[in-house]
């Protein structure tokens, strides 16, 4: 039996290597097929989107490549901190980030808003406090000494807003919960609540809406306890060093998505209506919130 198991493991390894080789070959094929003149553009993605719908993200990547003529690479960052570092080091050219990340990068690191999504026709979103329907919690205060999930420590809706609300209500955010679980992804925070791993979580309303579309059963098991917002929505930012031509191509492609058949489908799956230019959209509210929290620590 032991021998058989080892044999299976051995074949598993062989298959794994074969898979890797095949993936490499596919990638080589992709690279070899790209136009020689195309410039590589790295598109950073964090937990502001539902990463579990990888296929849709790849469709988005293809859409953008097709409509810009640019060689766009998707770069997934697990944490907002990592995203910030990579952005600072210019390894990321443009990124779909949290408002709080933009606030951090904007003043000193050449980050500028490219476009902002429209969620329910508005460039705003909310921070939602969610729990299982069976639970009796009515408000954020009820989660005292409970297990609570934050997405990323630097996430606006998934960490900063609830902490700010607790602070406002007279609680010490770092001592309020029995334990804070960081999932680094709004989608996974929702899963943590759904599975009962935590009692509650603070999540992005855009991601929550998108999650419910894909998980019909979740709607029956989850409920929103409190909503905080509205807050300026998670923007797509770009490094100022990127040429205007490329920037223009990207803006154009992103703005046209709501007009395009394929683009519409991608947007629908992402739970947003489309992208618009950030006309005078201010992230000062988030900056203020961050300032208050940092001051309180």
């Amino acid at each position: 039996m032991d021998f058989n198991y080892k044999k299976n493991e051995f074949f598993g390894q062989i298959l794994k290597y074969c898979g890797q080789i095949l993936t490499t070959l596919v990638l080589l094929l992709i690279f070899s097929s790209k136009p020689l003149y195309a410039k590589e553009i790295n598109f950073g993605i964090t937990g502001v989107v539902l990463k579990e719908d990888l296929v849709n993200l790849i469709q988005w990547q293809k859409y953008l490549s097709a409509h810009t003529g640019l060689d766009i690479n998707l770069k997934f960052m697990r944490t907002y901190s990592e995203m910030k570092n990579r952005f600072k080091e210019k390894q990321i050219d443009f990124a779909y980030v949290c408002g709080a990340t933009y606030v951090d990068l904007m003043p000193t690191h050449n980050a500028e808003l490219l476009v902002v999504p429209l969620f329910q026709s508005k460039p705003y979103y909310e921070s939602l406090v969610i729990t299982r329907k069976k639970n009796t919690y009515k408000r954020l205060d009820d989660f005292k000494n409970k297990l609570y999930a934050f997405s990323d420590p630097e996430s606006n809706s998934g960490s900063l807003v609830p902490q700010y609300q607790l602070l406002k209500r007279g609680y010490a955010p770092n001592k309020f919960f029995s334990r804070i679980i960081y999932t680094y992804d709004h989608g996974e925070s929702i899963l943590a609540v759904l599975n009962g791993f935590v009692d509650g979580a603070s999540v992005d309303s855009v991601v929550y809406a998108s999650f419910l579309k894909d998980h019909k059963d979740a709607e029956e098991k989850l409920k929103i306890v409190e909503r905080f917002g509205p807050y300026p929505i998670t923007p797509i930012i770009i490094n100022k060093s990127i040429s205007k031509r490329i920037k223009q191509k990207l803006v154009s492609a992103l703005l046209q998505m709501s007009q395009d058949k394929k683009g519409k489908l991608i947007l629908k799956k992402m739970g947003i209506d489309g992208f618009v230019l950030p006309h005078n959209l201010s992230y000062a509210k988030i900056a203020k919130l961050k300032f208050i929290l940092e001051s309180a620590q």
């Binding site: 999932t183 996974e188 599975n195």
Partner: protein
């Protein structure tokens, strides 16, 4: 119990088939259980080894996640393991026994103390470089091999079904073949009972097993029984023929007098009436029974024939009688006795004449050679007296015996009288007399004859005995007709050569004996229809005098 009786009443072939069926089912069921158990055990071992390998290969990652407090990733890792077929639930607890993550988070919340259950069958410690980070706890899915078992189960059931059918069929065939042979045996036994020897069946079968051996043994036994029965019947016919033609009436009768068998002898016509004895004959049988006699002779008044009846007890209820017509024998015996008597008289006369002649010779010389003097006359008188005594002795026992005596006499009185008469001789040799007399047994005999018998026998015994010896005198009843007087001495015995001679008159071994004493004893005893038996050897001589103790009727 009723069910058991009902089952046991089934035909043998069904019972054997059912027993084989049960055996196969039990055997196959056991094999199935063993297979199922092996599936479970091996499934568990496979689960254990796989889980251990998984943990081992991901140990560094888990420790890193632990150090980063990334409990969510640990949970996801455990959840991914729990999605494997052979794991139902997975958890990681810290060294203090509190939950770090568990795939059943509603029951095991982070930080809550973990309660181990029996289902936690795999425990793998998480340790590195001597540091203990906690323990993985897994609950295996013991039924995960069930689907693999299910895939072969149907095939197994099919083969069991086929094997069971075959086994029932084989059981039925085997038992039928066994029973067929036993049934032939049973039929043969019935035919033997009916003596239908020619219809016996002999078994020719392919099986060379124990049953066949038994059958052949019984066939041999049947042949032996057949021979024995035929031989017995032959013997039966043979003896029946003998019994039927024998010159005797043979009767088998029961204690109540019912005659169950008799042969066709002519005597049966007068003795047997409607399978019972003739009333008069029955009296003789009853008398024999009362007197405990094995045989007797009667005069059967209906045919005026002497019959010798012998009676034998066959068992508790049945007796056998053999009745012979001995009239002819009686006549021959009477003739022989008459001849014998004439010869005896002749011998006696010759011996008497010779004796007297021998005495007359000196008498003649004394009386007829000159004038006899006083001395000669005295001697002649003695010779004449001696001749007179001899004549008296010879003639006296020959006197007709009066059988019409009314009184029976007791022997005891006459024994004492004779012993008194012989007391001087007894005292001289200091001989001890030992008496064993049954006083209530009386006999019919003249006193003088009895005294003469006692005197002669005891005188001889005393004379034959040495000093200080014993003489035994015994008298007892033998049967309803005879008593036995025994005179036993411890003397030198009588030589076998002369045991026949001593019966004759004038035979004597004594210097001054007349040779008349024992002759007189034999004469008296035979005249009373008694008889004498002599048993003598050195150191012991026994005279048995059988005398009638009942009044003679003829």
């Amino acid at each position: 119990m009723r069910l058991l009786r009902w089952l046991l009443s089934f035909p043998v072939r069904l019972k054997i088939a059912f027993a084989i069926f049960l055996l196969i089912i039990t055997l196959v069921g056991s094999i199935l259980l063993v297979i199922k158990h092996e599936f479970k055990v091996n499934g568990y071992l496979l689960s254990k080894h796989s889980t251990e390998n998984l943990i081992d290969s991901n140990k560094d990652l888990i420790i890193k996640l632990l150090l980063e407090d990334d409990y969510w990733q640990i949970y996801k890792f455990l959840s991914s393991i729990a999605k494997l077929d052979f794991i139902n639930a997975a958890g990681l607890i810290d060294k203090d026994g509190n939950v770090i993550a568990d795939t059943n988070p509603l029951e095991y919340k982070i930080g809550s103390p973990y309660t181990f259950s029996k289902k936690d069958d795999i425990k793998i410690p998480l340790a590195q470089s001597g540091m203990n980070f906690g323990t993985f706890v897994f609950q295996t899915n013991k039924e995960y091999t069930q689907p693999y078992y299910e895939t072969i189960k149907d095939k197994l059931y099919f083969f069991i079904f086929i094997a069971t059918l075959i086994s029932i069929y084989l059981g039925y065939i085997i038992s039928a073949r066994i029973l067929k042979r036993l049934e032939i045996l049973s039929r043969n036994a019935k035919k033997i009972q009916k003596k239908e020897w020619n219809n016996l069946e002999f078994i020719h079968t392919l099986e060379n097993d124990e049953i066949t051996n038994i059958v052949h043994s019984i066939e041999d036994m049947m042949k032996t029984v057949q021979n024995m029965i035929q031989q017995e019947e032959h013997m039966k016919r043979f003896y029946h023929k003998i019994i039927e033609h024998i010159d005797k009436l043979i009767i088998i009768y029961e204690a109540n007098g019912h005659i169950s068998y008799h042969n066709k002898d002519a005597l049966s016509k007068t003795i047997i009436q409607d399978n019972t004895f003739h009333q008069n004959f029955k009296l003789h049988i009853d008398e024999m029974q009362n007197d405990n006699l094995d045989s007797c002779t009667i005069m059967w008044e209906f045919t005026q024939k002497y019959l010798l009846i012998s009676r034998t007890k066959l068992d508790e209820k049945r007796f056998a009688l053999t009745i012979s017509d001995i009239s002819e024998l009686k006549r021959v015996e009477e003739q022989r006795q008459m001849t014998s008597s004439f010869k005896l008289i002749n011998d006696l006369s010759a011996m008497l004449i010779h004796e007297i002649k021998n005495m007359l010779q000196p008498l003649k010389l004394l009386l007829f050679h000159g004038e006899p003097g006083k001395e000669e006359l005295h001697r002649a008188d003695k010779i004449i007296q001696k001749i007179d005594n001899i004549v008296f002795d010879i003639l006296h026992p020959c006197k007709p015996i009066d059988f019409d005596m009314q009184e029976a006499i007791e022997i005891n009185k006459y024994v004492d009288e004779v012993l008194f008469f012989l007391s001087s001789l007894l005292q001289a040799k200091n001989i001890n007399i030992k008496l064993e007399i049954e006083n209530d047994v009386t006999l019919f005999i003249h006193e003088e004859d009895l005294k003469k018998v006692l005197l002669n026998l005891l005188s001889n015994s005393i004379e034959a005995s040495d000093k200080n010896k014993n003489i035994f005198i015994q008298w007892s009843k033998i049967n309803s007709k005879y008593g036995c007087l025994k005179i036993i001495d411890e003397g030198h015995g009588i030589d076998t050569k002369i045991q026949e001679e001593i019966k004759k008159p004038f035979f004597t071994t004594k210097e001054h004996g007349s040779g008349i004493g024992l002759f007189s004893v034999y004469k008296i005893v035979y005249l009373y229809k008694g008889y004498i038996e002599l048993d003598s050897k050195p150191g012991r001589t026994e005279f048995k005098i059988y005398l009638p103790i009942k009044r003679r009727t003829s």
